[in-house]
Amino acid sequence: MSAGLDISKVFDSEKQLFSQQGQGFFLLDARIKIGLLFVVIVLNVGVAINTLSAILLFIGLPLVLWSRPPLGRTLLFFIAPFFPTLIAAIGIAITSGITPVLKIGMITVYEEGLIHSLGVILRVYCDITWLVLTFITTPFNTILKALRWYYMPSILVDTLALMYRYSFLLYEEFTRMNTAAISRGGKNGQWNTIKTLSRITAQVFMRTYDRSEKIFSAMVARGGEQFNADK
């Protein structure tokens, strides 16, 4: 699953968000988007009525098409939950229900289970559609501002901001060292791979530790040491 999670693509799409003036949901205020997302998740998952989920999905899909978010990341959003959802749906279809509709060897598919699993698929893609509308049409720093507006604790918002800022950097460092290790034959065999990955991750952690001290010094030097636990 991880092989598909290329963080550099996220970074590219974030840059696109800053450079392009989109349409549809791109023009909507982030606070409204987060509010809408919250309402949709509560209705979709909290109330959990299939008809309601279908309505929300069919409202969301045209909005996605109208807003035209970056294709690659949108596809990732729709593909990523596909296999876990499929496995869960199959599991539900064959282990719950009372009315058999299909029998394949020892496995029986039940009508109620099938309806339940279709409902699960519906809810998953309803949520995903609205996640696309919220997160792929909004730069992350705008989302953070909106979260702050919603009174999310400052320490969480600050930490999220720094996490977002440095995730890309750490990933780049890791990728660079990983490529160097591969080119030196550091990943021949599974045991070697584990050892090399541990060594690289340890290096990244040590650099992370040093970098955090430098960040603090830089913040203090710029008069930014006001961030404290009282916030």
């Binding site: 699953m1 991880s2 092989a3 963080i7 997302l37 979709n44 998952v45 909290g46 109330v47 959990a48 990523a80 939950p81 876990p84 959802t85 599991g91 064959i94 282990t95 719950s96 229900g97 039940y110 109620e112 289970g113 339940h116 699960v120 809810r123 998953v124 309803c126 949520d127 996640l131 320490i155 969480l156 600050d158 930490t159 999220l160 901001a161 720094l162 996490m163 440095y166 995730s167 990933y171 890791f174 599974q190 791979t193 584990i194 050892k195 990955l197 541990s198 991750t201 340890a202 290096q203 990244v204 952690f205 040590m206 992370t208 530790y209 001290e213 603090f216 913040m219 040491e225 636990a229």
Partner: protein, 329 residues
């Protein structure tokens, strides 16, 4: 392991979210206390969160031809403590859901409990228990990684079984769902747990080898106070042994005519048995020591009392480095 968006619905989803928000709130308080104590470490928390996020992107081989990613929360708990690891995991899950649709917002609560309680807390407890049992740092960390990973899957399986067993028209009982889900997890997640065990153990080992002061600052390994205490205990063992020997074998030390001589008791030391004998053979008779503690019972007691007071002071001064500081203090 993330439970996908939309899988858990209705009251269970709300319940998991409420519990996760509560746990995260406690974690936020711990983070605030940590920052109040070490303001310079605030970026470290964010970097720790980014590190957990990075770990979830690292593919580790699963020995079965596939690969998956480590949970990361046991390692974070070993390095930063379980509550902070839980909060950082919660934030990391937020980023993963927002960037990759990995996990989700409706299952965020269940995932926080799975990775935070199952991964971070159980991993941390396993690490601490292994350290208490006297296992080495690397082995303890590896055990922490293994148990944390296994408990992550165990908790995830438990959550899913609960939802399915109490869902509409279940065909199996709760325990049967549990067995079925664990059996489905085992072929891939078992090897991944072993991979995480090696990754966590080796990583902590490499950091300890190259930068032990980092682990000391994060209170992962013994600090100076503990080392001083350990040195004192080690040094005091010969003295206590000697005292015990004197008390038990030579009960009348102060009497002029001891009941049993040192030679008779078989407790003669190196000085008496070898050095003094060689010195006398060379014509140099042994003289009395300048400070003869053995003949000065009260002085010896006073010295021991003073040593105890000094060590008590050192322990009292640095106790928080051994067991972690109480927030209220």
């Amino acid at each position: 392991m993330h439970i996908s968006e939309g899988i858990i619905t209705g009251l269970p989803a709300v319940g998991y979210t409420i519990v996760a928000v509560g746990l995260t709130a406690v974690g936020v308080q711990k983070m605030k206390a940590f920052i109040a104590e070490n303001p310079e470490k605030k970026p470290l928390l964010a970097m720790g969160g980014a590190f957990i996020f990075l770990l979830s992107l690292i593919p580790i081989p699963a020995f079965t031809g596939t690969c998956s990613h480590p949970a990361g929360s046991p390692l974070a708990a070993i390095l930063l403590g379980p509550w902070i690891a839980l909060t950082l995991t919660a934030m990391s899950l937020f980023l993963q859901a927002a960037f990759f649709a990995h996990g989700g917002f409706s299952t965020w609560g269940a995932n926080v409990i799975t990775l935070g309680v199952g991964g971070a807390f159980c991993g941390w407890l396993a690490f601490k228990a292994a350290r208490q049992a006297g296992l080495s740092l690397v082995v303890s960390a590896a055990l922490g990684g293994l148990i944390g990973d296994i408990m992550t899957y165990a908790t995830a399986g438990f959550s899913l079984s609960l939802v399915m067993a109490f869902g509409p028209n279940p065909q199996l009982s709760f325990s049967q769902y549990l067995v079925a889900i664990y059996a489905a997890y085992l072929p891939t997640q078992g090897p991944i747990a072993i991979g995480e065990m090696f990754l966590t153990g080796l990583l902590i080992g490499y950091v300890f080898k190259q930068r032990p002061e980092i682990l000391q600052e994060l209170k992962v390994v013994f600090t100076k106070a503990a080392i001083i205490l350990a040195v004192f205990i080690t040094l005091s063992i010969p003295f206590s042994d000697r005292l015990y020997a004197e008390d038990s074998v030579l009960p009348s030390v102060s009497s002029e005519q001891p009941a049993i001589t040192e030679e008779e008791s078989g407790m003669a030391g190196m000085d008496e048995a070898v050095n003094e004998a060689m010195a006398e053979a060379a014509g140099l008779a042994a003289r009395d020591p300048y400070i003869n503690l053995e003949s000065m019972g009260d002085v010896w007691n006073a010295v021991m009392l003073l040593a105890g007071a000094i060590c008590g002071f050192i322990f009292g001064r640095y106790w928080h480095m051994l067991v972690g500081e109480d927030k209220k203090s």
